[in-house]
Symmetry: C2
Subunit: 154 residues, 2 copies
């Protein structure tokens, strides 16, 4: 993915998901293997001067959604992508700017996911995201997403 398309993803997120703009989310890198988003501490701080759990969880959700959406677009599949459930562990306090890096829980599951989406119009995939602050892992996210194939203009 080029720097231009990373900027396009950032613009898309800020335009369509205002919370991402309030959090000042930036796209660090975006490729089929991994998407990394960043957020500064200031707009995401809590009463203890560390990153607020809601912001940590939200950055992870955004990274995971962006990864699957980017891969679906690369397949040329017009679909709607919805989060169904997620689990989040908050491993350590985050004391400055932080990132979330999303990867597929099982990259080998992708071809079946695409086959199911094409055949059944609906498929499910699990995405992980690791939230880091420098060398520290601040949180670990796992979320289940469902894609619905959209035929024609919606």
């Amino acid at each position: 993915m080029t720097a231009e398309s990373a900027r396009a993803l950032e613009t898309y997120l800020h335009t369509h998901i205002p919370l991402s703009a309030a959090m000042q989310v930036a796209v660090v890198s975006a490729a089929a293997e991994a998407v990394t988003l960043a957020a500064p501490l200031a707009p995401n701080i809590n009463h203890r001067s560390t990153a607020f759990g809601g912001s940590v969880s939200t950055l992870a959700i955004l990274s995971a959604w962006s990864l699957v959406n980017l891969r679906l677009n690369a397949e040329g599949l017009h679909s709607r992508l919805v989060i169904q459930s997620n689990h989040m562990d908050y491993d350590a306090p985050i004391e400055s700017d932080f990132t979330a890096t999303a990867t597929l829980a099982d990259p080998a599951a992708w071809p079946l996911f695409i086959k199911m989406l094409q055949r059944k119009g609906r498929a499910r995939i699990v995405v992980q995201s690791r939230v880091r602050c420098g060398a520290v892992t601040g949180g670990r996210f796992e979320g289940e997403f469902v894609a619905f194939r959209l035929d024609g203009a919606t």
Copy 2:
């Protein structure tokens, strides 16, 4: 809890957790049995014109944190409250303003939680929160929080 103290909680959240201000979180009611927070759709919308999962999850976290914090304050315990993990199910799309109502997963566990906090300086409690949009349950949250007793000024 009086309307005045509900307003105090709202001011506290907006002042110390800027994301809650960006989400325009309001305190509907706050009592030892349950805390209900509300958020309008507009600042929490996603690319599909429904509530963004990050906002849904964040409102639930805020309601759960507020409940335990309110109960700890009522016990006169000076403590730090940290989210350790959470699970969130997104049951249905949320198409307008929404609320999150937090309750203890097991109210009978509270006395032991307080005893542990006093004796060991650290204790763990599970909080649930239900996210509703009108009559529709949009999401169900369960989170584990850890309280650390603070002795003296911190």
